[in-house]
């Protein structure tokens, strides 16, 4: 069998790129340098990130506190609901429940 000659394929490849790709890639690379040149942003970005982290922690703590308060108010709401049910209705509901019954009866 005839030996393969690299000249048969040279440097051709089966790949292509979208039209305008390299111009876009060069432009995006150029933006890296341009963004580093905006000194104000770079100088203050460490401070900005610290402020953002601190704000996130405060928000998380506030959220946890709100949830705790809200949970407590939820409990109080359940107690109010139970208090609103008449004694007769409550006894009826309790009497219908048989803890010894087979659960499959209910389904």
């Amino acid at each position: 069998m005839k030996e393969f000659d690299f000249e048969n394929v040279g440097k051709r490849m089966p790949y292509s790129v979208p039209e305008g790709f390299f111009e876009g890639a060069k432009r995006r690379a150029g933006e890296i340098a341009a963004s580093s040149q905006s000194g104000v942003h770079c100088r203050f970005s460490p401070i900005f990130s610290r402020v953002a982290i601190a704000a996130a922690v405060v928000l998380a703590l506030c959220g946890a506190a709100w949830w705790t308060v809200d949970y407590n108010s939820l409990e109080r709401r359940h107690e109010r609901l139970l208090a609103d049910i008449s004694t007769d209705l409550l006894m009826e509901l309790v009497s219908e429940y048989d803890p010894t019954a087979d659960e499959s009866e209910y389904y």
Binding site: M1, K2, E3, F4, F6, N8, V9, K11, R12, M13, P14, Y15, S16, V17, P18, F21, F22, A25, K26, R28, A29, G30, I32, A33, A34, S36, Q37
Partner: protein, 181 residues
């Protein structure tokens, strides 16, 4: 290219003209680095993302560059190669395969994008290269396509010049064998 690299370095060393130097570097190396990445990762979107990572890394490392104009090309290719290898390693990790075996999987992704043909010599050639062990594949691509010197390939890969020559020799033999089948 050596004269251009010297000019690029001169501009990069000047804090007032650094961006101008970086623009020249981008102009000179975007296409070669893209194709180098593409040959390693195969998929265009992967190569595109890797290329942007490479430029970010190069720009961030300009102050660390200690070489002359002759070493600039190898330095850029080294950063690009490491970026491609990192991407391949990440893929390997969650698929529990080695980079060598991944090459064979990547070979399955190669199709001729200008037409429906999957049997063109270009496709077969790329598949043959991708089936090589990772080190041979890298050396072959850098020598065959990018025409880096063995000294430059040694700087890119971290292996000795003599090993680079050996790897290239065996890679050529293996590719010829696969293409002749």
């Amino acid at each position: 290219m050596t004269v251009a690299n010297a000019e690029i370095l001169r501009l990069l060393a000047d804090s007032d003209r650094r961006n101008e130097g970086f623009a020249l570097l981008v102009e000179a190396y975007t296409e070669p680095l893209y194709w180098h990445l593409r040959r390693m990762v195969v998929v265009h979107e992967e190569a595109e993302d890797a290329l942007q990572e490479v430029w970010i890394k190069i720009f961030a490392s300009l102050d660390d560059y200690r070489g002359d104009g002759d070493a600039l090309r190898a330095w850029c290719y080294r950063i690009a190669t490491n970026a491609a290898i990192d991407r391949l390693r990440r893929r390997c990790r969650w698929r529990f395969v080695t980079i060598d075996n991944l090459g064979r999987e990547l070979a399955g992704l190669v199709t001729y994008e200008e037409s429906e043909s999957s049997e063109s010599v270009e496709v077969k050639f790329q598949r043959a290269i991708l089936s090589l062990p990772a080190k041979q594949r890298l050396v072959f691509n850098l020598r065959y396509y990018d025409e880096l010197t063995y000294d430059e390939i040694s700087r890119v890969t971290g292996i000795s010049e003599s090993s680079c020559k050996t790897n290239y020799h065996y890679a050529q033999l293996r590719v010829k064998e696969l293409m002749t089948r």
